[in-house]
Symmetry: C2
Subunit: 320 residues, 2 copies
């Protein structure tokens, strides 16, 4: 900048004014400065600017795994909103490890991101409090983080309830639930929705039809249930990975799955799903964050986005 000033024979500040398009610069002077900038190939040093202004125009995004379509949908949406707000996105995957999450978040904070969008892993987020005090805004997505900050969720229990009710309407009375471990917020919510649907229909809750645990065990669990004297006639699966695991068993049981997935319509029969909207989850969270960064006050919001039942065949099969 100094060199540009010298080349254009003006003061440093004038160059700064031109670069930042501040008003109050003579057109001729400005032109001279622009020419000098071109000639010298000058580009503003953002680091210095950040140091001075205190705002980095960047946000941190912490998700479980970019390679998972659900999270990459969130990523893309956050990216787009950030770009529209003149902000860049630093992102990192936690791989479900709370330690890695903590590391990423703190690293982002020490780089002075303006705000954070976090899909929380683990439940203890106390470590965030000093950062929040220091003025970094945060939004939790997909799961609550145990702190009183803005949170954007899907309607997990409502979606599960709708899906299970759909099976009941098609004549099923013994419906298996295969889902994630109870330690995971979304899994608990979805199981709650399952129970709710049964209760609505006056059906008993039979624990032997409920399997919770990692996707690797989902197949065996369901196969076990099918060997009962009174086996389930349909299954509700709690997330994509479990759905795929169940499909791989080769049982073609009537089924509704939580979470949409690519090609669900090409399988035979097509898989009926309760779809979340990852893009909307991401954009809602990002919009909320940028509103906070723009100075919007008020108590933290908790937004629950609706899910959508998409019938494709597997959920409309009657008991055989």
């Amino acid at each position: 900048m100094k060199d540009v000033a010298a080349a254009a024979e003006v003061a440093l500040k004038t160059v700064s004014r031109v670069v930042n398009e501040e008003p109050g610069v003579n057109a001729a002077t400005a032109a001279r400065v622009v020419a000098a900038i071109e000639r010298l190939g000058y580009r503003r040093n953002e680091s210095a600017r950040v140091l001075r202004k205190g705002r980095t125009a960047s946000i941190g995004l912490v998700i479980e795994d970019v390679a998972d379509p659900f999270y990459s949908g969130i990523s893309r949406a956050v990216e787009d909103v950030a770009l529209r707000n003149g902000s860049l996105v630093l992102s990192g995957s936690t791989g479900k490890e709370p330690e890695r999450e903590r590391g990423l978040v703190l690293t982002f904070c020490s780089r002075r991101v303006d705000g954070l969008i976090i899909v929380p892993t683990g439940s203890d987020h106390e470590y965030l409090l000093p950062e929040l005090d220091a003025g970094i805004a945060a939004v939790f997505v997909d799961r609550p983080g145990g702190l009183d900050v803005d949170t954007v969720l899907s309607d997990n229990s409502g979606g599960a309830r709708t899906g299970v009710t759909h099976l009941i309407r098609h004549g099923h009375r013994r419906i298996a639930y295969v889902g994630d471990s109870a330690s995971i917020f979304t899994a608990t919510e979805r199981l709650y929705g399952y129970r709710h649907a049964l209760r609505d229909a006056g059906l008993p809750y039979d624990e032997s039809l409920v399997a919770t645990g990692p996707a690797e065990q989902a197949g065996t669990a369901l196969t076990g249930m099918l060997s009962f004297d009174d086996p389930p006639t349909a299954v509700f699966t709690g997330n994509s990975r479990i759905t795929v695991a169940v499909l791989r068993t080769g049982h073609r049981l009537p089924m509704v799955a939580f979470d949409d997935f690519e090609l669900a319509d090409l399988l035979v029969p097509g898989v009926t799903v309760v779809a979340q909207d990852p893009v909307r989850l991401g954009s809602t969270a990002a919009e909320l964050l940028f509103r906070r960064l723009a100075g919007e006050l008020g108590t933290p919001e908790r937004i629950e986005l609706p899910t959508r039942l998409i019938p494709r065949g597997s959920g409309e099969l009657r008991p055989s």
Copy 2:
């Protein structure tokens, strides 16, 4: 840092030494400083550090779309390698728009990323030259960027050749090729591989069996070919989106597809694919970049990663 120094009753520089784990600090003094840091909740300001040191310990990743599994695989791999090298990743999606690519790249540069990993969109990357001169390292991935810099590609032509040869071995003599527009590097390479395989087998190249264009037209193109007097008995598809489009037509033609995709094994018949390895593409590019950042010299490398044929049923069907 000033506050910490005051609290620990030492000079600024001593705090700096402790924070950076530089040698030559009395253990007792260091302990006092650490205590003060804890007490005050001090965290180093990276922006200032960057301003002083000149290195940002961050790299820029420019891809087509994080929401596409191929690119998100690359992302995840780059992220992991970056983390291992103590670096953060700024990332952005171009959505195939060269203007957006340029914007992202220049923004990243003005933030003084140490290096760039780019999946190039468009062919003109002249605008990068000044940045390269300024010392920013760059690696192209998936497609060459028209500049003489490190590049990591898949063996597109070899993979296509293997896939088409596989169909020929199963008795097909009229094989359709449905692929992306010829303006896209990978598409041209794959078409070349297709022709190569035909030539190897002494089969004629019949232009009427070749359709290139956007995925939306793939279905109609293939349907058209099937109404010929002498229709193709098998099809080779040039990328995932086209594969899906072809599958949606409902023709269950013998087929080999370029690019693996989730659930390819669950369709009936399973889809035989020529798989690329996005994770390896990303990690190779990132490793290369960090080697350059570590000062490795030498002429730009061009690495071509092998593809892998995965038979699943659709590619082993004989002509009917």
